[in-house]
Amino acid sequence: MPDKSSSLSRFFGFRSYVATAATIAVGVSLLAFTKANQKPHFQEIDAERINIVEPDGTLRMVISGRDRSQGPMFKGKPFGYPGGTRAGIIFFNDEGTEDGGLTWNGKTVNGKYRAGAQLSFDQYNQDQIVTLQYADENGVRQQGLRIEDRANIPINELVDRMTAIRKMPNGPAKDSAMNTLVENKGDPIAAQRVFVGRDRSKTAVVNLSDALGKPRLRLMVDSAGAAKIEFLDKQGKVIRSISGDDGGR
């Protein structure tokens, strides 16, 4: 009996002492760890960049200042140009490819300013097709909503092809290669279809364009207050014009 009890007391005394101490240590650190993983509440935080990610780590949104901003990404891989140029929010689709953003800038250098802001939505694997924008070069400004068509060429491939052409020596071969790429056999790499806003010539305008990006119907009030509606042919010639001054005739 005394043997058994001494052995038991040894068992419970020694082992349980060490085990309990270690378990408490692990438990405390586990608690601290899960506590950190619970939903923290902050009154105010400063951040240079916030990444919104899926549970598997796929990047879905970056909120940042200019210096820490994300460059373009295609299926999770950077392409085009490095980050550090766009303050605001950049969106990424389910595949980790950039698909839009809300960015802004404004800075005076040597007494001249450049400012702007834009919300843009990108075509799948391509560039922006819906853009709400303000762009200002020291007082020469444009504001409005722009809708574009984009070709069915993935943007990373397009950037590679353009970069290759830009490296060619200047001359007819280079120009022809660039034209072929831009025109893309009648499916231009970019064609503006709609613009609603105020352009650089201070004209309030609604422009509806054809699939090649040529304006065909235009409602405008220019900087002098002249109001007219114009129909244009594909060469840009006005074929019918309506205004208030001539009673529409």
Binding site: N37, I63, A87, L132, Q133, R198, M220, G247
Partner: protein, 268 residues
């Protein structure tokens, strides 16, 4: 017999203790190292599943504020010329959301929203706004709703070339005056004067959306803000296109008016 079996048991217990402790030490050490690694990696870019926050300041590495994301109570004051002015009004005055700041740290837009019961019903709205450099809103995509009186659309405005800071400075002086009719009157006079001298205000150049009378509308205006082309479909479904002169008189209208008054005036 008792003694030897007791010693055997003691040895066996001792060896068993050692095995247990070795295994235990290994397990706990591994766990602690693992946790430390995860915790350390987290400290490089902290990872949260979800956070609750009243305000986030997005800043450049040098501390320049570029954006706030916040509730209503923690909305920042407008910053003009590097200085804060407690003068927020409009949707931003009641709302929560995001305020944007340019490379120089001055406010240049926002994305805000509000919706609440009022004494007479409710007030709701949301807006994405881009400000002209050192000025006020030049692009506004918004929804405004006062007791079901709704407007929703895109507005493009021209703003003065002068900075809005001089106006903000003066507005602060008036804000400090004792409340009363004198203050209201002086404020109104000041605002009218500021408008006249082109430091406050702006003119609508284009609006596309739906108006307060349930009409859908496209309006284009001249640089003085006079509507010169209007396309509307009103709440009854009547569609028209109008050209207007600077005084607001309709000079041409489509479809052509079948009324005798109109056609007789044409004959002259």
């Amino acid at each position: 017999m008792d003694q030897s079996s007791s010693k055997e048991r003691t040895d066996r217990d001792g060896r068993s203790d050692m095995r247990f402790l070795k295994a235990y030490a290994f397990a706990t050490t591994s766990l602690l190292i693992g946790l430390s690694i995860v915790a350390f990696r987290q400290s490089q870019t902290p990872h949260f599943k979800q956070i609750d926050v009243e305000r986030i300041n997005v800043v450049e590495p040098d501390g320049t504020l570029r954006m706030t994301i916040s509730n209503h109570a923690a909305m920042p004051d407008p910053v003009i010329g590097g200085k804060s002015y407690p003068l927020r009004s409009g949707t931003g005055g009641a709302g929560a959301g995001m305020i944007f700041f340019n490379d120089e740290g001055n406010e240049n837009g926002g994305l805000t929203y509000t919706g609440r019961k009022t004494a007479t019903g409710y007030s709701a709205g949301a807006g994405l706004t881009f400000d002209q450099f050192n000025q006020d809103e030049t692009v506004t995509l918004s929804y405004d709703d006062e007791n079901r009186q709704r407007r929703a659309g895109l507005l493009i405005a021209d703003r003065p070339d002068e900075s809005i800071q001089a106006f903000a400075e003066s507005a602060m002086v008036f804000k400090r005056l004792p409340d009363g009719p004198a203050k209201v009157q002086r404020m109104q006079e000041f605002q009218a004067n500021a408008r006249k001298h082109g430091v406050l205000g702006g003119v609508s150049r284009l609006y596309v959306g739906k108006g307060g009378s349930k009409e859908s509308i496209l309006m284009l205006a001249d640089p003085k803000g006079h509507p010169r082309i209007k396309m509307t479909v009103d709440s009854l479904g009547t569609a028209k296109l109008e050209f207007l002169d600077a005084a607001g008189k309709v000079t041409y209208e489509l479809p052509d008016q079948p009324s005798t008054a109109h056609s007789s005036s044409r004959l002259h």
